[in-house]
Symmetry: C2
């Protein structure tokens, strides 16, 4: 069991040796008619069908507070799908699309790992079916129309100092965070401060993943708040007439993408909003498509349960009308060591593991808070020692949770059948979501409930700016919206240095911004980067085509 | 004949009523194996095959000096293809891909018109197979790596004031022409002046359309000159290690796209460099693919013969090793009236037509200069009067050129069989290209020959800046490169107000820039806009989805 994992070939080697099935075979295995497919080569397609009513049982995969390397939620979600497939179940997985930007920053894809991957890996990690490019175009069309409006006489009286929408690129490019546009004289537009976000951080990405239909999409795009006019009134995308053309750009991208796992289970990989300033999960339409055709649907939400799962329950499920019936919580020895205070978290350290367990305990508490008895999926690594594993086993018993030591990375579905059995058991008494807050509660109360119940904070403080923003939001009628809290992912608190299970801490709301199209208010607890930068040695330097025309250095 | 055209339905209506064949049928009709196709839905594919050796006869479509509305070169090229198909010939057309930017500016697509269109029209005019998005990504990756290099210590000693590469968007967005990036303090990059071009104006677009193979592509990308270091030495993309990752982004886009005409002839629609600061024609790989499978290949080059055809002969053909065997010259009554001094060029005006004929005469002379007896394709419009048509007929006789009054817009292939017959006749004595200049001649001499022989200029002048640039280029070893002249498209001269056939004029070179990756020097005669702007009422405002989810307002 330990040694098996040390001999796993690289993700790229495994992916290249795989023999994916023609995508229409994958589709028809699920009951999707072949004529509903819009093909992108032999192994990718968009599903243009209207799905039957939901029938599947939804399984949400979340995690304890992650290390910077991530704890393998995607890998577990894919491996669990493969395992359920192995048990003869009609199962599909619903995942986020990877962002292109990070591919050239720090080596690594976002399509799972080892023998728990989705295929075709290279295509999915590069342009895939063009969804993110379409979103980039739609975002940039809106800004082009804003700046053109300023240039052509500014009939709406836009206040150039208070334009909120940014442009987007699917690229890690820090120099575009803050820019001045419109320089060069009267023929070149109106000078103003502006900025770019990475595409996944755009409101359009959040909208695409929440919209129910193309007409809902068009309407939501029209509600994007562009900024304010000189009289202090909000101006929306619909005031510029931009939402129709944006929708036309997004029409094809709106349909879910179908690919497959290494073991040929259908995988709906669609949309990928940031898990921080947005809700960090795949699209509602893709999940609904999966639930319409499969008996079991595995999905995942970004970061730890305090970020991804909280938003999944309180925002996505409440909006979409579906909900998990079981929740899987991913943990790793690396994360336990990290939360036990070790920076060298790849080295065995039973004492650190012991001290890191309270972090996991809080996430177990959170999942229970939302109405689910969690199934613990412990993602095995070769460096895990028997002594450490025993600590985890004893802890799980003490907590009264099922735990499976998953080897899906090393063995694919075969390494996850125990986990799959436990999930099937859990589904026999399906959970029901309990929301952390009511939509009718004031924003302040919503934030307080999340902070106290989910993060374990003692107190919520507000900066002066946040207080002002809160008043403005109330005045503008945004009080009934759900809240997206943007905070550090590396801690249960808003301070990334507070590891483990901090107690007695307070969190500070620094700003609030409405995303009227997406339909939520973002509450910032500190600065959140929406445009990453490249590292000193970008992965791009090692990427290229080799003599045979094969991609090298990508993963 | 006159009335027929008045009843032509809109391009969009025609395109929507069309019944395109499955693309594998179109491919196999040409002998392309079905397994070489990478599908994008039922009617678009990339051809991944290595084509057989060229066998087809190449027919170049060029035009007289166009009005701002364009004279229908694409429509004639497609219609001629349909007509050759009707005559039982194995024919294909090779065209540029439309740019997304202008679609939201001024209503109108770029896939032909009337019954001479390529399908599927909406997809081709929107994201198509994602080629331009891939180019946008590659261009922006290079700039992200430049700015990251500056931020991370600038080991290459780049001079921030002399960085030449720009970012790109496939969008009409004038506010991005001149920007300052890297604002916000030490964590946000190094402030500098920068800018964006529309994707079709990027050097990467020119490279993609000229490269022979993926390895040639990678090498050329490495040769892109990024700017200068503080010692005044040029710095290239390869010095940043960017060319490999750029190639990986462009790998799929490099393969030609296959679609079809309304009458099911194969259409290779691939790449679309600006016809001004680049060479304005489709990719070398697509033309080669077409020549490998078809007996006849129709292609077109941008603007009038002085811009597009000149570059096609002297740059593209010389590089690619193929050449036209016949040349079709497109003229319209509108353009004749325009060059006869009429701004209201849609109104009949025989006297203006007579006065406009010398412009057409110069283009006939140009085509002969390059070694071809032109076939005149007169693109009919409903407003053309018999008196005007008679003037044209007499002129053609006097000039000794074949002329066909084409009705491909109104009638498709059936409206172009006379033209097709004339082209087949011309091919019986195939032309051979005569280059306007030798590659070994100094840049100044190359420019002088083009200006005097092709434009009819008396003299070439240089600004002081251009003189300096010329010296620098000689010092940097760029003298052997072919020249791309970027000048006004609306005149044979460099002054857009000089209509007809100006004489005794001088042209002024204002700057010269090397495009080391594309392998040419751009000689500017005046300011050339590489990022368009949106008009006061952008077409985007009228575009959207209607109740049935159909696109409205796009064309």
């Amino acid at each position: 069991m330990d040694t098996a994992q040390t001999h796993v070939p690289s993700d790229l080697e495994i992916a290249r040796q795989a023999k994916p099935k023609p995508i229409e075979e994958v589709a028809t295995s699920l009951g999707i008619p072949a004529q509903a497919l819009f093909h992108y080569g032999p192994h990718m397609a968009k599903v243009l069908a209207t799905p039957p009513a939901p029938r599947g049982k939804l399984i949400l995969v979340t995690a304890m507070t992650p290390t910077p390397a991530g704890e393998g939620k995607t890998t577990v979600a894919i491996g669990l799908t493969e395992a359920l497939g192995k048990l003869g179940k009609k199962v599909a997985v619903a995942l986020r699309e990877p962002s292109l930007g990070p591919v050239f920053g720090i080596k690594g894809g976002a399509t799972g790992g080892g023998y728990a991957q989705v295929l075709p890996m290279e295509e999915i990690n590069l342009h895939f079916t063009g969804d993110f490019h379409a979103i980039t175009s739609a975002v940039n069309l809106l800004s082009a129309m804003v700046d053109n409006h300023l240039h052509q006489g500014n009939a709406l009286g836009l206040d150039v100092r208070r334009i909120e929408v940014k442009r987007a690129l699917d690229m890690n490019d820090r120099a575009l965070r803050q820019v001045i546009v419109g320089l060069g004289g009267p023929g070149q537009g109106v000078p103003r401060e502006a900025g770019f976000e990475i595409t996944v951080a755009s409101e359009v990405m959040a909208i695409m993943s929440l919209a129910d239909s193309l007409s809902d999409l068009q309407e939501r795009l029209g509600r994007i708040r562009v900024g304010y006019n000189q009289a202090g009134q909000p101006v929306y995308a619909r005031d510029l007439g931009a939402e129709g053309a944006m929708t036309v750009l997004l029409k094809q991208a709106f349909y879910p993408n179908l690919v497959q796992t290494l073991e040929h289970q259908p995988a709906f990989v669609h949309m990928g909003p940031f898990g921080n300033i947005a809700h960090g999960t795949n699209s509602v339409v893709a999940t609904r498509m999966a639930l319409g055709y499969a008996d079991y649907v595995v999905t995942e939400a970004g970061f730890g349960s305090d970020l991804g799962a909280e938003k999944y329950i309180n925002l996505v499920c409440r909006r979409a009308g579906f909900a998990p019936q079981a929740v899987v919580l991913v943990a790793t020895m690396r994360a336990l060591r990290f939360h036990g205070g070790q920076d060298e978290y790849t080295q065995p350290n039973p004492e650190a593991v012991r001290q890191g367990l309270p972090n996991l305990a809080k996430h177990i508490e959170n999942v229970r808070l939302w109405g689910y008895p969690p199934v613990l999926a412990f993602n095995r690594f070769p460096s895990d020692t028997p002594q450490e594993l025993e600590l985890v086993r004893a802890f799980a018993e003490e907590q009264g949770v099922r735990v499976s030591f998953s080897e899906v990375h090393a063995r694919g579905g075969a390494g996850g059948t125990e986990l799959a059995q436990m999930v099937l058991e859990a589904l026999e008494n399906p959970g029901q979501p309990r929301f952390t807050y009511g939509l009718e509660q004031p924003l302040e109360e919503k934030i307080a409930r999340i902070a106290q119940q989910v993060y374990g904070a003692a107190k919520v403080e507000y900066t002066q700016e946040a207080r002002k923003a809160l008043k403005r939001l109330e005045k503008e009628g945004c009080s009934q919206m759900p809240v997206i809290i943007a905070k550090a992912a590396a801690s249960l608190s808003d301070n990334p240095r507070l590891r483990g299970r901090p107690e007695g801490f307070s969190v500070t709301v620094t700003d609030l911004k409405p995303k009227c199209g997406a339909g939520f208010v973002v509450a910032y607890m500190g600065e959140i980067m929406t445009m990453p930068g490249l590292p000193k040695e970008p992965a791009a330097i090692r990427i290229g085509l080799d003599e045979e025309g094969q991609i090298r250095g990508l993963f």
